[in-house]
Symmetry: C2
Subunit: 207 residues, 2 copies
Amino acid sequence: MNIIVVDDDKLVALSLKTILESTGHINVMAMGSSGSEAITLYNEHKPDVMLMDIRMDGMTGLEAGEKIIAENPDAKILYLTTFSDDEYIVKALTIGAKGYILKQDFEGIAPALEAVMNGQSVFGEKVISKLPVIMNSKPEFDFSKYDIGEKEQEIITLVSEGLSNKEIASELFLSEGTVRNYISGILEKLELRDRTQLAVFYYTNIK
Amino acid sequence: MNIIVVDDDKLVALSLKTILESTGHINVMAMGSSGSEAITLYNEHKPDVMLMDIRMDGMTGLEAGEKIIAENPDAKILYLTTFSDDEYIVKALTIGAKGYILKQDFEGIAPALEAVMNGQSVFGEKVISKLPVIMNSKPEFDFSKYDIGEKEQEIITLVSEGLSNKEIASELFLSEGTVRNYISGILEKLELRDRTQLAVFYYTNIK
DNA sequence: ACACAAAAGTGACATTTGTCATATGAACTT
DNA sequence: AAGTTCATATGACAAATGTCACTTTTGTGT
């Protein structure tokens, strides 16, 4: 199997080469240390798999990968990261990377390459378990930043379930007028105009 | 590496055993052919990895996997499927399976097992590319079922962006009254009460 | 040109909603 | 006890919303 290793840190790149070549059936065709180099090297050698760091000076591994895949739709790119970096996972997936594994797990790299070679996708230990969470949950909304208290949050929820003021009032044992006042305050703090915008806000930023 | 193979089809199970053992460093400790058997075998042998079919008579692989993982939180289960079966992917992920690969890809199974052994997760060819889509998209709402036309859909969208009737009217070059009439009709068809409920409906069932 | 249906509009009406100024009462300070 | 704060409440008002019966306009086929 012919691969290319791209890593900022030349020492890491070299170590990888050594480890991988010692397996006997992996051949490191070339090594690079930047995103732009990655693109050049890929086109020059067309490796079976490209093993690339995700964080690099200049062009990041993701940008480079995106370009490579745009030109070579079946390019196989396996990303390496130092710690599992939530934010990049989804991005890596969407550009069509074949995997996302941790550098530390050096024993796992060779098998991962094999799997990728066979058309599969590989993700490091904690990466996958985070996926369902990352994809669904919003960044956790900071109510306190807008000075919104407990009861107000409750009301926001109820409004966002489609309840009328009267219904919310009876649900919370408040008078309808009080509910109105609460909502009025919430709208002002969130700079919204009406309850529908509040519901929209809720579904876009909170739940 | 010690594994257990569980497959409905005993011929398949046997073929897998043969293929995998021929690699030299995979040992098939036991074989099963049903979900309930899987649970017994797992507890009896505590394999490094369990390779299991996802569809089986009686208890499915998923149910069995769920129970196994509940009892053994770091059990490593790698699912096999005949064709990539969208609906199960998410479920498999949420119960904490280590992978989801295609049976057909017999060359890929051994490397996948290696990777899983190393704590990684492996997904077959087309599985991962579907993930972002599956997780975000709702089942595709059937407007025609409610007899809701083009323009009505447009209005639903606008309402769900928080626009007022006046704004929608000017956006769509309609009079405000017409917009109201449209909304009135939509609410009736969808059995909703007001625009806020419509927005809620939108975010829960459509987008 | 006529007829017919679909799309768009109107006006009137009751409700709901959002805003605001102000009031009440309970729980704490001091 | 007087003062302060906080949550809750009231009433009045304007604006937005939803409903309905009915009209006008537009487009399409004959």
